[in-house]
Symmetry: C2
Subunit: 481 residues, 2 copies
């Protein structure tokens, strides 16, 4: 009996897709440069079906890739030609809302924003807000440990999830974490976050809810240099202020965003900072004054403060439009995602500018400055000679730069298939081996999303790039940890 | 060549203890009911010595127990008769303080409080504050994922550590986590927290530092019933206030504490709440008013607010003295440590009272109410007939109660050897197996602190107690998740 026959025994025809046409919508996630039609697509709608799908794949030794909303930017949900692609889109029910303990328990296919909408009547919301929050699902958020503008104050997904229920490759159920403080035993809950589908199938998520703040206000500050803007970021964080969001845009990002949506940003500056604070009247008023003073002291040439919710949204409009805006002026662009320790912001931005002219490709910077999470946008034209290849090399050079100053090759987009090579720069062989050993402890036969997230030592050898050792720094001018 | 001879080749005489007398000080941690003199005690003072000790133990197949300050309350550092006990007490240097990124990098033997003292000149501090913070070491804090009064607002150790350097059982170095946001790869940093020495030897810890708040004030509220006090806790959290500490004491705890240190607590009440808020003038003033209103609305019969730092410390004096105070009125006591979802506070306290009279032993409750982290103190007399055994049974019954309402058998004291049986109540066999698989991924031969933290399925079978299934509730009157 074939895999397909076995699956057909407990899946309805509309839950088991085998024709190329029917499977086409599942061939890629949001990193559409990579696409692959799988052997079969399954769309279960009961827990028992998922258990049986997992057991069946294990029985036939067929790799299983689980997919949420498919909004991932690193190819984590890319199907395998010989594999089974399982969509959890039909698990979209909110199972429980507990205002007293400020928790909500939901199925993995529930959209990030749908949680906040469902708990709004209780004056609560779910804090992590990836820019895809209208579409992305909470199961995918856990798998990628998603961030967002508000993670500076409220943490990543891992800091806002209390419990997950997981189906292992054996079809066993595990309950990881719990609704009470600090579950004993080894921290398998944290391990599931950012595990990109390598360890198990996330079937239920209990999230922490926060009370909606009374109000939020934004300070917009314009600077003549990215250096000064970087100092302002350090000054704000150093003063102990924890903004709800602290975003930076450089000149190119400002220009394209302004041309696209006319948010009214100053065009005669090198960088702007958007600093949002939230809380009650008293806190916000006090913090706005402090932020205003700090950015001014850091040399801001212009400082504006939102005085209404409408104005606050206008301040954010350009920031939120920056990606599509660049899409309009450049035929193609890569959205990179790396992190650096905050204090290196200025020197890294200057270095990126140098790399940009070196490679002859414009780079716009729009990023979570408070977190040191960069999103350089590399503009290129895939149709003109070697620009795609050059853009990829430039992107890799930027990520190597992040590692060199003590940062990481991904902040919130995951590794997927996109950044396997850069993982070789980030980690020593010993650490990569430990990752594989942990993977094996969950999935001995390597059937869950194989080939993603953690490169083999072989691949690192082929890639040729060695782990960046503290001692060997291609750019000695960069201060190091 | 024997293990001892091999160790003597690279350790000075004062670093290699083999006589009973010399090893006696290492026979137990703070859970002194359990004690065992090991085969050998080693006290390395260089990284190379630690690598060689680990490799030597691996070579001889001798189990290795690593010890920090020995302040643990669950026997996690209890030596093994046939094993090697390694003290990291001499690794007590602060390696780096980075005010710009608000981090400090320290060796594992550095005392928790010593970090805050060292960074105080920069206006910074390290937030997690176990009550043993004067003596306990940061390496032990990571191994047990320690908490403290301020963890309600600032999180457990795992939320305040950015990077650890670990020596594996192979003598390999792993760098887990990083100074930048969200390191990619599987979250081995979180796994090390609370791993109780099972996975590796923690050799370096980089902690997150916070700016010292401008000021802190405490509200002391007295209630006629624990129910009302529990409601006040729910009201404060529900209002979105995040106190720096939110502690509760019941009548017996108040009486003994007052008799011991005369903090001036009201004696005619059933429970008091201590709610501390910190931040800048404006925030604190606003939150104090809110807290005052909420506790009053919850039926507080008396409300006091600290108006000076001296008064704030007086308010805390009784709380901090509660444990030694009970020690003075009762020959012996157990300090239990369980967590529950906050909303079950009142019913669980009533149930503990019932168990207390059922077992004929007084129980004083002093705990982190905001976290739902209970510390019932069971008073007994080890010399009178069966009281020790009864106290142990009562303690176990209280922990089972915690699990039944969706809580855990330990909040911040760890499992060690003390709570192996209760782990069988907490977790399913599948989850326990997953813990063992993870342990194996780090330590295939089970040489690192074997027999601690995670019980074998055998032991659970012998213990006879099954995992508490949602369906089978000994106490149907308890509301369940």
């Amino acid at each position: 009996m074939s895999l397909e026959q076995k699956l057909a025994a407990f899946l309805a025809p509309d839950q088991l897709l085998t024709s190329r046409e029917a499977m086409r919508p599942y061939e890629c996630d949001a990193l559409s440069a990579y696409h692959q039609v799988p052997r079969v697509v399954v769309v279960p709608n009961t827990r028992e079906q998922v258990e049986r799908i997992v057991r069946t794949c294990a029985e036939f030794g067929v790799p299983l890739v689980t997919r949420g909303a498919g909004t991932g930017l690193s190819g984590g949900a890319l199907p395998l030609a010989e594999g089974c692609l399982m969509s959890l889109a039909r698990f979209n029910r909110i199972l429980d809302i507990d205002p007293a303990n400020r928790t909500a328990t939901v199925e993995p296919g529930v959209r990030n924003l749908a949680i906040s909408e469902a708990v709004a009547p209780h004056g609560l919301y779910y804090a992590p807000d990836p820019s895809s929050q209208i579409a992305c699902s909470i199961g995918g958020n856990v798998a990628e440990n998603s961030g967002g503008v508000h993670c500076l104050k409220y943490g990543l997904t891992v800091h806002n999830v209390l419990e997950v229920k997981v189906i292992t490759i054996d079809g066993e159920w595990l309950t990881l974490g719990g609704r009470a403080l600090d579950a004993p035993g080894l921290d398998l809950l944290a391990v599931m976050h950012g595990s990109e589908g390598l360890l198990g199938v996330i079937m239920e998520v209990t999230v922490k809810l926060l009370p909606q703040p009374d109000l939020a206000r934004v300070v917009l500050a314009a600077f003549d240099g990215v250096g000064a803007a970087g100092e302002a970021v350090a000054a704000i964080i150093g003063a102990g202020i924890v903004p709800a969001g602290l975003e930076m845009m450089d000149r190119l990002a400002i220009e394209v965003a302004e041309a696209y949506c006319g948010a009214g940003y100053p065009l005669d500056c090198a960088a702007i900072l958007l600093c949002e604070v939230d809380g009650n009247e008293a806190e916000v008023a006090a913090q706005i004054d402090e932020v205003r003073a700090l950015v001014t002291a850091s040399g801001a040439r212009e400082v504006r403060v939102s005085n209404s919710e409408a104005e606050r949204l206008t301040f954010w409009a350009g920031r939120k439009a920056a990606f599509p805006a660049l899409g309009r002026v450049a035929p193609d662009y890569f959205c990179m995602d790396g992190t650096i320790p905050r204090r290196h912001l200025a020197q890294v931005l200057e270095r990126i500018a140098a790399l940009s002219s070196e490679y002859g490709l414009p780079v716009a910077n729009v990023f979570h400055a408070g977190d040191g999470n960069l999103h350089p946008l590399i503009a290129f034209d895939a149709n003109s000679d070697d620009e795609l290849a050059r853009a990829e090399r430039l992107g890799s050079a930027i990520l190597q730069l992040c590692v060199e100053v003590g940062g990481t090759v991904t902040g919130e987009h995951g590794v997927g298939v996109e950044k396997l090579n850069e993982m070789c720069l980030q980690f020593t062989p010993a650490t990569l081996e430990q990752f594989h050993a942990l993977k094996q402890a969950f999935d001995p036969h390597g059937l869950l999303n194989p080939g993603k997230a953690v490169p083999t030592l072989n691949r690192c050898a082929e890639f040729g790039a060695m782990h960046v050792h503290r001692g060997q720094l291609p750019h000695p001018e960069l201060e190091r940890f």
